[in-house]
């Protein structure tokens, strides 16, 4: 979700004087909310990651003017024809094949509007541009450019990149320039450049502009804009967003011819797109009691033009938006324009029978029994590490679910049994009054190639009892009573688990299957955990008890 800074003064200049609360209310129409205010700066959370046209004050105001009644329907922008030309060399084909461009003249930048321009560029780079890979844009001082511009593979090129004071080769930029280090991986060692007819480098997309043409200041009056990437259609949106934002600032738009040798295109191409919707369906879908005429009015506020066609509406919008896939998107805008909080909430009358899963209901029974035995319930994390699961438990490693990008080695695996979590709990409570009896009913993960996720969740119950003196038989009494209370038969069988003391450990068998274990924890394991009193424990597979 992009967060953008806007100036309150700037906002008011284009609208009217108002309080932060009033601005806040208006921003709701743009899926934005105020996240903080510092002096003149309002921090705005823009929630729609699919609406780059809303990531600048110009874009936000375009919408808000519709709700203030200052403008309505599709905004009008004129594109002047021109002779400006960008010639695309075929050498770029395998590196970064496409570009679309525009020229905007007659701008009067101040600090605020310049900040907006840079901010919009950054937000588009990060989100829509997928960190500049899919779309990267550059803005240049038009008056320093000698036309036509060439877009070609970078060969024998040196230029002064923005932020440096000496000429560098692409390789040097890759190595030493902060932007080079950050973005070079996109290109795999080959680069493209925009150069003008005096061989002045404009930029090396998507990495860095030149210091000479690629710096825009408050003195800049006219700009050249380019967007580069891999899919021509995909590049149109950011170009349209940026050029219309500048047009909102009073700039005059000029087209640029992009010469792809085989074919030529003129950009920016601002076109009306349309979608056919059923007004009645939209009204019903939202649950409103309004007329078709009202839907039209609401859509006009959201900067759509609407035309009637028999019993349908043709809803038109300008192609700085690309988020409209079907009638639902239009329905949402009708609801937003109407105001979510004006819609009267109504609980649907759908009668269904509620219920917990059988497994959960069963764990509740187990819980009740364990609590009856005086055990305190605990709840621990699924994330843990191999040290806890294996080494400290005195057993060999097994294949378990491991995290590729852990934040900390402590949380780098998902547990495959519960007992280590319980022992870790006991370790942390050495100085708390004894006896300590704790249990947990929780999930673990086991590798299972037959499962669609390569592993399966299992619900386990583990119980520990620790005191100056505890022993196997006492815990077996508890286990035995647990089984008898849930009406289940079990057998016990000698086991060879190294976690427990020999001859004081057993596997628990139900229907000829191992479903858990019971035992006195081996002193070696207690030492590993720095636990000072004997512990007797059991762990069972809950689903097998059902």
């Amino acid at each position: 979700m992009p967060t953008i800074d806007i100036s309150k003064k700037d906002f008011e200049k284009k609208t009217k004087k108002m309080s932060i609360q009033e601005i806040e209310e208006l921003l709701i129409f743009t899926k934005s909310e105020v996240d903080g205010v510092e002096k003149d700066t309002i921090k705005v959370d823009q929630k729609d990651t699919n609406r780059p046209d809303l990531w600048s004050i110009e874009g936000l105001l375009r919408e808000i003017k519709g709700h203030l009644g200052m403008e309505k329907g599709i905004p009008k922008y004129k594109i002047h024809d021109s002779n400006y030309k960008v010639i695309v060399d075929k050498s770029v084909k395998k590196i970064r094949p496409f570009t679309v461009c525009a020229v905007v003249k007659g701008l009067e930048f101040n600090e605020k509007s310049l900040e907006q321009l840079i901010q919009l560029q950054e937000k588009i780079h990060m989100t829509y541009g997928r960190k500049r890979k899919m779309a990267a844009m550059g803005v240049y001082d038009f008056d320093k450019i000698e036309w036509p511009i060439h877009y070609k593979k970078a060969e024998n090129i040196r230029f002064v990149p923005l932020g440096m004071d000496k000429e560098m080769t692409p390789k040097e930029i890759e190595k030493y320039h902060p932007k080079g280090k950050e973005y070079s991986h996109i290109n795999n060692g080959e680069y493209t450049v925009f150069v003008d007819s005096k061989e002045n480098v404009l930029s090396m997309p998507p990495i860095i502009n030149s210091a000479y043409t690629g710096e825009v200041t408050t003195k800049t009056k006219n700009v050249f804009i380019e967007v580069s990437g891999f899919d021509l259609e995909y590049l149109m949106i950011p170009l349209n967003v940026l050029s219309t934002a500048l047009a909102e600032r009073g700039g005059k738009l000029y087209s640029v011819e992009i010469d792809y040798q085989k074919n030529k295109i003129k950009t920016p191409k601002l076109e009306e797109k349309s979608i056919e919707v059923d007004a009645k369906k939209i009204i019903d879908f939202i649950g409103l009691d309004i007329k078709e005429k009202d839907v039209e009015k609401l859509l006009n506020k959201m900067r759509y033009d609407v035309e009637k066609k028999k019993d349908k509406l043709i809803v038109k919008y300008l192609n700085y938006r690309n988020d409209i896939l079907n009638w639902r998107d239009i329905a949402e805008d009708v609801a937003i324009a109407y105001g979510y909080n004006k819609i009267k909430p109504e609980v649907p009358e759908i009668s269904t029978i509620g219920g917990n899963s059988e497994l959960f209901e069963f764990t509740e029974k187990l819980k009740e029994i364990m609590i009856g035995f005086g055990f305190q319930e605990t709840m621990t994390f699924n994330l843990t590490n191999k040290e806890n699961l294996f080494r400290k438990m005195n057993i060999n490693e097994k294949r378990i679910c491991e995290i590729e990008n852990p934040i900390s080695i402590n949380w780098s695996c998902l547990r495959n049994w519960l007992l280590p979590s319980s022992l870790e709990f006991l370790k942390k409570n050495k100085h708390v009054q004894f006896p300590q009896k704790v249990f947990e009913i929780g999930q673990i993960l086991e590798i299972d190639e037959k499962s669609d996720t390569g592993c399966v969740n299992k619900e386990k119950i583990s119980a520990c009892w620790t005191d100056s003196r505890v022993n196997y038989s006492e815990m077996l009494s508890i286990l035995d009573k647990l089984f008898s209370l849930i009406g289940k038969k079990y057998k016990i069988k000698q086991s060879s688990n190294q976690t427990f003391i020999e001859n004081r450990r057993a596997e628990i068998i139900v229907d000829n299957k191992k479903i858990g274990f019971i035992g006195e924890v081996h002193p070696k394991v207690l030492n590993n955990w720095k636990i000072e009193k004997p512990v007797v424990a059991f762990e069972l597979d809950v689903e097998k008890l059902l």
């Binding site: 029978i353 509620g354 994330l383």
Partner: protein
């Protein structure tokens, strides 16, 4: 000397060995039959043999003679308080039909007579001599050693309350795996594969196992939905990668693709995983409450109705506000803020109506309203804690002492 419970029973019903002999008197009977008819069969059998009242042949009991001992008469005499010889007493003592414990009790109890004592005891109560002792006054403010009952974990308890409310509202539980395919976490929810939210730092990836599998038909549908809607080449390999579930909506997507009924209401309490450092305000794992309602006539107005009901029922909200929001998988999307009496305005959760690009590939043709609610802050408030780590507390003392109200 007193007659034991066993002795009393024989006075009433006769000696079991004699009863057994009588039973077999006319016709030999099988052991099984006798077992069913005679109480204390094993006692009856052993004494009948000892007294030579019966014989056993091929599993049948054969009558030999009636009991000619005076055991029953002796018991009756003792009951009436008549004197019997020491040899006779010895015989009954051995068979535990009488006991001379009372004499000991009385002896013990007599020691206390006229004294001030700390504790009332069994001897005094049984002999009735408690009337002749004095019990010392206790300091009624003095407690014994601190004791701890077994108890529910407070956060689990909170989640249980939420479940109860949801179940009352007619919601059925659904569940899903903690390790999830990217497909269910993202793709089925119409999140493009090159979307920044799928990026490395926002979610965990799995090192092992790395790959799962997906139903071919569903995969084909979702691929179509992505390539048409987002205009890029969808990769099945990426969708088959595994990750710890990052949000509960993955469970809803799975439910829609399998056995969701129309109309239907479902909920899940989903453990979710996102890379975060564990500290007072962040957890490495958290729980989300996820819900969906399917119905052919469901509307945005209904979604708002359900959310309002939740905010009031679950969060105890006094007031609520809805805000337009954005999720790739819902259109319209709603954020709900609830005014809590103590916490003030709290962002309560995200909701919306699933996009047709989500529901249609999963085979659902009706609108589905959906929401995901992070409950940690509410739980913290309910539990009266400031440090979020206490939701998963490893402090036994605190767990023991935490009030259950």
């Amino acid at each position: 000397m007193i007659i034991t419970e066993e002795g009393k029973k024989y006075i009433e019903n006769g000696l079991p060995e004699e009863n057994l002999a009588e039973l077999a008197e006319n016709n030999p009977i099988t052991i099984q039959e006798a077992k069913n008819k005679i109480e204390n069969f094993s006692i009856a059998l052993s004494w009948a043999k000892k007294k030579n009242l019966i014989d056993i042949d091929k599993g049948k009991i054969i009558f030999k003679k009636h009991d000619d001992s005076n055991d029953l008469d002796l018991l009756k005499k003792i009951e009436k308080g008549e004197d019997v010889s020491e040899d006779d007493v010895e015989k009954l003592l051995k068979r535990k039909l009488v006991s001379i414990q009372t004499d000991n009790l009385e002896k013990k109890a007599k020691k206390y007579i006229g004294k001030n004592i700390d504790f009332l005891n069994e001897e005094l109560i049984k002999t009735g001599l408690w009337e002749r002792v004095k019990l010392k006054p206790f300091n009624i403010e003095t407690k014994g050693k601190e004791i701890f009952p077994g108890k529910r974990q407070p956060y689990q308890d909170f989640l249980k309350d939420l479940r109860d409310k949801l179940v009352k509202l007619g919601f059925q539980e659904m569940s899903g795996p903690n390790i999830e395919l990217e497909f269910w976490n993202f793709d089925a929810l119409f999140q493009p594969q090159n979307h920044p939210a799928r990026d490395w730092t926002d979610t965990y990836k799995l090192k092992y196992p790395t790959k799962g599998f997906i139903d071919k038909n569903i995969m084909k549908n979702v691929k179509g939905s992505h390539e048409k809607g987002w205009k890029y080449k969808w990769s099945p390999e990426k969708a088959m990668k595994l990750m710890p579930r990052a949000h509960g909506t993955a469970i809803s997507a799975r439910k829609l693709s399998t056995d969701a009924e129309i109309p239907g209401k479902y909920f899940a309490i989903a453990r979710c995983f996102r890379p975060d450092v564990l500290d007072a305000t962040h957890l490495i794992e958290f729980n989300q409450i996820e819900g969906i309602v399917l119905d052919k006539n469901i509307t945005l107005k209904n979604l708002l109705g359900v959310l309002e009901m939740f905010a009031k029922e679950i969060a105890g909200a006094e007031e609520i506000r809805f805000y337009p929001d954005y999720y790739p998988f819902t259109e319209p999307s709603v954020q709900i803020s609830a005014k809590h009496p103590k916490l003030g305005w709290v962002e309560f959760g995200g909701a919306g109506i699933f996009r047709e690009e989500v529901t249609k590939p999963l085979g659902i043709d009706v609108p589905v309203i959906a929401w995901g609610i992070g409950v940690d802050r509410l739980a913290m408030f309910k539990m009266g804690i400031k440090d979020i780590r206490y939701l998963f507390s490893d402090d036994l003392k605190w767990l023991r002492e935490k009030s259950v109200i």
